[in-house]
């Protein structure tokens, strides 16, 4: 067994110049980022952006074409039981032994883990309303997701990788599911990487955003920082002297007339930019913060703009 790296606790996931090709198709291209311990990371991206590939690489199910990915301080291609015992994975298309009942599958998986928490298992089974006596083959898609979540968290991992874990769950169970994750954070200081298209749900718990676009890294930043730098402004000029276009680099999109304009902006210090715009165009500037749903397309544009410049 290898001695654990000293970086285990500070950065449970480190990605360095990672690329993955499937034949001629590039799934990931030169992606680099680090996740500090205790973070809840939203892994965002459109369909085919490379999210699932990244998560599969992180748990060693796929091997990189180039670059490296280190999970819990160990190269993901060489994970051993010391790391695997501390890693929780919830896959988008879970595979079960589907002739078993829910309870049998839980017992079977538990037998591989020395620290399986049976109390937690019982509580989550009740909380997520899962019937232990049912055969897996008869479970709905939503119930299969619940089982997959249970199998991913009951050994109390210190790193939890989740790929679209909530897509088939109803809103009530989704809310409980988020509470389950928060409880793991409080009790175990667990680091979570969750990919999801349900941005309104994930924005309640994430504090870091990694956004992939067509296999490349668009953004890796703290969520607070993103919320504070993206905004929608409404400019109102009583004199009708607003320009037709705005050349400032902080303006990402713009629509309107010479009297009233609406724009999406990204600036490091939005408050002082508001003042600058107000005095420069002699206009009233009203600023509104953006939700993650509204921010998402702008995060993708960031890569396009970088590529152009």
């Amino acid at each position: 067994m290898k001695t654990p790296s000293p970086f285990v606790s500070s950065e449970p996931l480190v990605v360095e110049n990672l690329s993955k090709l499937f034949g001629k198709r590039t799934a990931l291209r030169d992606v680099s980022f680090k996740i500090p311990a205790g973070r809840v990371v939203g892994l965002l991206g459109r369909n085919g952006a490379g999210k699932t590939t990244l998560l599969d690489l992180a748990c060693g199910l796929l091997l990189p074409t180039a670059g490296e990915i280190r999970t819990l301080g160990c190269a993901a291609r060489e994970l051993e039981s010391a790391q695997l015992n501390r890693l929780g994975v919830v896959r988008q298309e879970p595979r079960f032994l589907d002739w078993m009942t829910v309870r049998q599958q839980l017992e079977f998986t538990a037998s591989f883990y020395p620290h399986w928490d049976h109390g937690l298992e019982k509580r989550l089974t009740e909380m997520l309303e899962l019937d232990g006596a049912r055969r897996i083959v008869q479970l709905s898609q939503g119930d299969q997701q619940k089982l997959s979540i249970l199998l991913g968290v009951c050994h109390r991992p210190s790193l939890l990788l989740m790929d679209e874990p909530m897509s088939a769950l109803d809103p009530i169970i989704r809310a409980r599911m988020l509470d389950v994750l928060l409880e793991r954070l409080r009790d175990d200081g667990c680091t979570v990487l969750v990919s999801s298209h349900l941005l309104a749900d994930v924005e309640k718990i994430i504090d870091w955003v990694v956004c992939l676009d067509a296999g490349e890294l668009a953004v890796s930043a703290s969520f607070d920082e993103l919320q504070e730098s993206y905004a929608e402004w409404t400019l109102h000029s009583a004199t009708g002297t607003l320009p037709e276009t705005f050349s400032e680099t902080c303006v990402l999109s713009h629509e309107g007339t010479t009297k009233l304009a609406r724009m999406r902006v990204c600036a490091a210090d939005t408050a002082s930019e508001v003042e600058r715009f107000a005095s420069m165009y002699r206009a009233e500037v009203k600023s509104r913060a953006l939700s993650l749903d509204e921010m998402f397309p702008l995060l993708l544009k960031r890569r396009e703009r970088r590529a152009k410049s």
Binding site: G38, R39, V40, A175, L178, D179, L182, E183, L185, R186, A200, E203, K204, I205, I206, D207, F223, D224, Q227, E228, Y230, A231, H236, A238, E284, K286, R288, A289, L290, S291, D293, E294, M295
Partner: protein, 126 residues
């Protein structure tokens, strides 16, 4: 402590906590010496990441709104009269800035706007 977090309005949750705690301190809902819920307890109550709570608490402590006494418990700090006065005016100033912008956009004169504010004050005090 009653806080309401809007998860989708784009304002970072830690800021929303800070603003609401400050408002409750300024308005006297949270009296000096009041003990705040632990990071853990508030995180469970608001369904928020514990890191978000500790960030808000840390900044409030740095701004002198809260203080950490005898090791662990976080309490509302006794405010200087001047500070308290400013804390009361600050949220009001922010609301009036929005109203002032609207008045100008609608072409309502300053005199008319002030008269309206006075009338509104009178009607809410009855």
């Amino acid at each position: 402590m009653l806080l309401v977090i809007d998860h989708h309005n784009g304002v970072p949750a830690y800021r929303q906590i800070m603003e609401q705690v400050k408002f409750q301190v300024a308005s006297g809902v949270l009296a000096p010496g009041t003990e705040l819920p632990s990071t853990r307890a508030l995180s469970a109550e608001l369904s928020l990441n514990p890191m978000t709570i500790s960030k808000a608490y840390g900044l409030l402590e740095r701004e002198g709104v809260l203080e950490r006494r005898r090791g662990q418990t976080l309490t509302v700090r006794e405010q200087h009269a001047d500070d308290l006065h400013e804390q009361k005016l600050e949220p009001l100033r922010r609301h009036l800035a929005t109203a002032a912008t609207m008045a100008r956009q609608l072409g309502v004169s300053p005199a008319q706007a002030i008269k309206l504010f006075r009338e509104t004050l009178d009607s809410t005090s009855k």
